[in-house]
Symmetry: C2
Subunit: 508 residues, 2 copies
């Protein structure tokens, strides 16, 4: 997609089949933010969840001294009040207050309240906006919701989105790290959905750069919505959960003790696989697995069924079915609180596994044992603790990741969106976080929409792996599929994205 | 619901909280069928799937000598042509032909083609109907589909439904058995959706009695649709599949060999549990499990999360979300054929387990070992082969069944519908069929809508059992919940239904 700015330099990033317009970030650009914001003198951030907190803090830091105020608006009775105060927002100077008051006073109103609250209260918020105030979003949920109801955003207001390709916690942590490592940060996409005064792109770019995005690319709110919601249900969260549940039991049944089964299923993904992709790209995982034949067989067994499931999720998201399901779930939650998934027995071993981490991401290769649950043969606990790359887990995980990439390609997404939503967000934000906590903790504590999606689709991935992929492990690899994997243009797109952004060991 | 007939005797069945109108079946009523059909001289059955085949054969047999013709209509190029011919339908006498020709010639057109075909072709069929011809359905899918599109059935035509509470195979087999055991058969509900000439109820009752229904109860097409679609996604199919996948792995991880794990998870349900419920009611399973404390703990652990999932399915079915999902899946199937779920390793042991059946349903009780996957302790392979009732499996299965019953109660279904759709259809039709084949075979070979639903929700049940229910097995039973289970009015409703219908060992 194209992108034009009167303030920032739009560059061309070479991607397979052409080029995409991007804007590089950096602290050196902060002095340009006020002019790019075109008349925005007060930014209201509604909500203090992980994204609200991170964005409010980053915006305030980036705009310090500019005269532009950042204020936080909270629901009456919000439990976040103390934390917002502790972070320097306060009622006395008007930087903290009731959400409707903050919304009514700001020139750019960034809606970072929970999706359910957004669905329930967007009309109240819209009703108090100043004439011409810009509506800011960080994902496309509200667009999907309004479409489902046959409504639209209120006329006369610019509607823009800046969508960081990482969780709120990462957006803040990498921004702080970016003070010493210039360029550290979470990439973001921008979308200009309504642009009555023609300054939407500049404002969105300014907001994105102020968040610390190493590079910003353009999308539409609709494409953002699709890739975001599908991605978190697939490789970013749902598929990871389904995969580790399936593989943990698979290795256990094959004879592995709980700690080894945990390491070979979960630890290998959140640790060395994520790290290897982040540093060296996706095909490097195959080499690092120590058994490329087994990797290839696992990849071949998983790719097609996993991709079919991504396609199913995509259809349901695009159709609105997924959103209807979320709305129905929100209604049920009033009487039926969501259960935790952390009760699954494997998670009781997280502390033991974490304690075994001698050096992070130590290179340990498991023996070539196929871990065939039918015939036994799970081999190779990593001597001395710490997880290596398990070839089965690696093949299934990478097969799923490439399934999502390829499905996003045929659905027409831009390469920047594809690799950020399928790879970079996974390996540089979510998986390191899961590595520090655990996968169940992540699922049980992410946004409600993501959490509902992971619970809805994670078990589907688990079933696909258990019923279709793993039983095919003893089949020969699909040579053509492996060839296509190694030649996939995604690797080139990922490399182009990597050049714009240094790999940083995110603190978690 | 009330029901009035000018031909058949409407009886009152005492159910908890009141009475329901029912009509008893029987071969002695066959002479009344022509007058009850009110001018129907030719019945066209479109489709030769299991229901189409069973209904065409039963109708023809029941109406033999009455002068009323039963004809079968098939799609051009249908692969069922030979089987229909082999069963005595033929083009020469006009009892076999193109579906549109048969539809155009019949006074009662029974639509038993696959749901996807119904969605694609109902308008063509409606267009050729004789004026005033009755449209006959055997489930509410088409109503749901038309509602989703904002359409309705064509005006001027009676629209009636007869919905056997069992699979087509059972409808035929029990009808044949009914020749010697009078009263054997599959119960059915009827719904009169449009009744322009006032004879809808009589026609539906005649059709139901001609199918061999021991008793017929009234419902609405909408209630039928909800309970039917939810039921097959829950206790009838989806939950059973999810349950056996979860429990097989659970017992395997606890140390059981594959055959024992299969017997304790699957065989115990499809054999002795189904048989015990059919013969002696649901609470009898608790007594027969040999460890009522363990049963109670398993029941307590499973009931709430399973019921929550039934509620979720119900919401999605009632909202139309589930139907949209089916439609989307049908569109994908053109390019992405549905995978089989029979690849899951447990099913490779079906022949061994089946061969171990010394005497069917032999009473074998497993030791009180909890099968705690965390601590080991899977005990008690049945000595000498054959499966007994495993208390863990029984508690989880019955907890799920009661969860569906109780959820259907709060959704306002009649008791006949509740117990037929949650219990009788399971234990007298589907589970015996699964016992003869296996669960995966059933899922891979049932109707597409059911199959899609089982694949969509089975893994959700599996996850709920694995992540929530089974990890709670070491918690004390919920005494209040068990008390409510034992006093559940469903048992009374089931007993009332059982009096109207002899328990028959269905041939499979």
């Amino acid at each position: 997609m194209g992108m034009e700015s009167s303030v920032f330099r739009v560059e061309s990033m070479t991607v397979p089949g052409g080029a995409e317009a991007i804007v590089r970030g950096g602290r050196d650009l902060f002095p340009l933010l006020p002019s790019a914001l075109h008349g925005v003198e007060r930014i209201g951030v509604l909500g203090w969840g992980p994204q609200g907190r991170a964005q409010a803090l980053n915006l305030r830091d980036s705009l310090a001294g500019s005269g532009i105020t950042v204020a936080v608006g909270l629901r009456p009775g919000s439990r976040s009040l103390d934390d917002a105060r502790a972070n320097g927002f306060n009622e006395d100077d008007g930087t903290l207050g009731d959400w409707l008051e903050i919304a009514a006073s700001a020139d750019l109103v960034i809606l970072l309240i929970a999706d359910a609250a957004l669905a329930a209260h967007h009309e109240e918020i819209f009703a108090v906006l100043k004439p011409g105030a810009t509506i800011g979003l960080s994902h496309g949920f509200l667009l999907g919701y309004l479409r489902e109801l046959g409504r639209d955003f209120p006329a006369g207001h610019p509607v823009i989105a800046v969508c960081p390709k990482g969780m709120g916690d990462s957006v803040r942590r990498l921004y702080v790290q970016g003070a010493t490592v210039n360029g550290a940060g979470i990439n973001a996409s921008i979308a200009v959905h309504a642009d009555p005064d023609g300054h939407g792109t500049d404002r969105a770019l300014a907001w994105s750069i102020a968040l610390g995005s190493p590079y910003t690319f353009a999308t539409t709110l609709s494409a953002e919505y699709h890739s975001d919601i599908v991605g978190e249900r697939a490789i970013l969260l749902g598929a990871v959960h389904g995969l580790v549940e399936a593989l943990y039991r698979y290795f256990r049944i094959a004879g592995a003790d709980p700690v080894t089964a945990y390491e070979r299923s979960t630890e290998t993904i959140t640790g060395p696989i994520a790290r290897t992709i982040s540093k060296h790209g996706i095909p490097a995982v195959r080499a690092a697995s120590g058994d490329s034949d087994l990797f290839d067989r696992a990849y071949s067994a998983a790719y097609r069924p996993a991709r079919d499931l991504v396609a199913e999720i995509y259809d349901e998201v695009a159709d609105g079915t997924e959103l209807r399901s979320v709305i129905l779930a929100e209604q049920r939650l009033a009487n039926r609180p969501m259960t935790q998934i952390g009760g699954s027995p494997m998670w009781s071993h997280s502390p033991t596994v974490h304690a075994r981490r001698s050096t992070p991401y130590r290179t340990v290769r498991y023996g070539g044992g196929s871990g065939d649950a039918r015939g036994g043969g799970a081999s190779g606990a990593a001597a001395g603790g710490g997880a290596g790359i398990d070839a089965v887990t690696a093949g299934v995980f990478v097969g799923t990741m490439m399934g999502q990439v390829d499905e996003f390609v045929v659905r027409g997404h831009a390469w920047s969106e594809i690799v950020n939503e399928s790879v970079i967000e996974a390996v540089d934000s979510l998986l390191p976080y899961m590595h520090a906590r655990d996968v169940a903790y992540m699922v049980d504590n992410c946004s409600r929409t993501a959490r509902l999606g992971a619970r809805r689709w994670g078990p589907r991935f688990q079933a696909v792996y258990e019923q279709i992929a793993l039983p095919q492990l003893d089949q020969p690899a699909d040579a053509q599929l492996i060839k296509e994997f190694l030649a996939n243009p995604a690797h080139e797109a990922l490399a182009a994205a990597a050049e714009l952004r240094p790999s940083v060991d995110i603190s978690v």
